[in-house]
Symmetry: C2
Subunit: 336 residues, 2 copies
Amino acid sequence: MKKIGLKDVAQHVGVSVALVSYVLNGQAEEKQVGKEIAEKIRKAAVELNYVPNQAAKSLKTQRTQTIGLVVADINYRFSSGITRAIESEAKRKGFTVIFGSSNESSAKFDEIVNVLANRQVDGLILVPVQGSEQTIHKLQQSEVPFVLIDRNFQHILTSSISLDNYKAAYDSTSYLIKMGHKRIGFINYETTMFNLTERNRGYKDALKAHGIKPEEQWLQRVGSNQKSDTAKGIDRLLSGENKCEAIFFATDRLAIFGLQHLNELQLNVPKDISVFSFDAAEAFDLFYCPVTHASQPLEKMGKMAVNSLIDIINKNKVINQIYLETEFVIGKSCRE
Amino acid sequence: MKKIGLKDVAQHVGVSVALVSYVLNGQAEEKQVGKEIAEKIRKAAVELNYVPNQAAKSLKTQRTQTIGLVVADINYRFSSGITRAIESEAKRKGFTVIFGSSNESSAKFDEIVNVLANRQVDGLILVPVQGSEQTIHKLQQSEVPFVLIDRNFQHILTSSISLDNYKAAYDSTSYLIKMGHKRIGFINYETTMFNLTERNRGYKDALKAHGIKPEEQWLQRVGSNQKSDTAKGIDRLLSGENKCEAIFFATDRLAIFGLQHLNELQLNVPKDISVFSFDAAEAFDLFYCPVTHASQPLEKMGKMAVNSLIDIINKNKVINQIYLETEFVIGKSCRE
DNA sequence: GTGAAAGCGCTAACAA
DNA sequence: TTGTTAGCGCTTTCAC
């Protein structure tokens, strides 16, 4: 069964390829193609099972109908979730996604962005990493459309979709306070990334707003040695006379390390200690106690990122910064 | 900065496009291009930052350098793992991967395969689902290269990469027996898929080989209501006088449901019951006890699938059925 | 309303 | 050894 081309359809109907092209690209009206002819063409196309050759189309239009996606680490649940969401929305809009993972390295990030741009993607969706400002700047100079997702930079004006991290952390902390806790520890990464520092700010402000003085040692920072740093952080939170009675983890990965350590310490959640996580990991499924957490609207983020990007690709030049809210999933990990 | 094409490089060096094409496609020797010229061309290409236009290339060569991947359900850890492995190997070989998920539905599977084939992928890597024999047959008639992965059909001869499921189950069961267990329950899906039925066979044969008569009620089958069926299955295994002292889960998903239920029953692993899982899920991380399990060589499978497929694409017509072995990861979930 | 035809950037057969 | 050139299948301008 030979491959059907535009020409074959044209021949079949007895018209020129131009007409077929117009009709099949939804320009029938615009080009004032005869109604009947148009109908015939559409019918013939399905009958013959015509499938446009994307390569030829791309060659002519200079658009590849692909978008490049760079995530920070494919092992994050955020990454796989957002990838899925982006992929499905992209497909709906007739785009294919090709992607790469920077593993939180700015050098790798720069490399991948270049590779994808060279692959002549029509646009990029990026989760920038710490230290990637240069790459973003370069991108702004070039003509490649892109949007940032999950993270953005305070001092670079680009289209982006992210969370209102301040509010999410503020509300989460307030929830713990409402549950009767006063000494609330917060475990976050040691970082300058805006999205994470905003969580610190939200946490502290919530304490203050409720008349609690945030002790410096309540905020523990985790470096590159994630597992052991988290464990150490917890140990510190649980020592001394000002012992915390609740722990708020700034990410789901930190929560995993933390819960593992609590298991090791044989501490029961929520009996011995309350736990709140920013975002959930699949691994929570097997923890004996459902973990109360803030939940990121991945579907929505992915969808908005794709549509935002397509807008830019189509030259609707607006810088669009969107901040979404998290939802709360109440489990049983916070004692009342 | 305008886009550099073959022509630009040719002009820059002062030769024809043909030479540039030859050299940049590694045919310098073959076409006996002058050494010096070749060198000049290569140098100019990097200098000018030449990037070939994939669309034009595809249009001419009728190859898209993409492979289509269809997994059974993107939520399986197997799926994400194998996708990653395939993606990275494909990239190494200059291929892009586009993929879809059948959600274990043969109708969806058929649809996706068609969509991908129409996207003119050069070949397909498929995790077939129950009832997809027709689609596979159609594929065999067509000229589209493909390999099956993880699962295959006994009565259809195609290239495939899968596990030696019989041996893996046999060895796993033998391990439990060696740990001193006699009454070993097995929880598997209710299915006719070869890869899973082979696990039943391996389980039973191992018991027999060690002089244990496999009781019919030791093998519990889980239907579409996975969570509750698993729970019921476990309840049955743990009731009566012939109560099982160990449970072997045929997949990691079943193990998750099972461990959740054991949590609900407040049974301690391994004190009250030993547990062995076929493959591990990320969620195991937060179970209080490291789960002993058989581990699938995802990296290897993905890599082999890609290379096997590329072989077929390049017309090295051999049917290649590869069966890999699992490895064992010893945790603490089996009492000695 | 419709058709003819010029390329998009590349490969490869053929000519020189 | 190197250059010329005919398309690959499609979009789109321009002519009718």
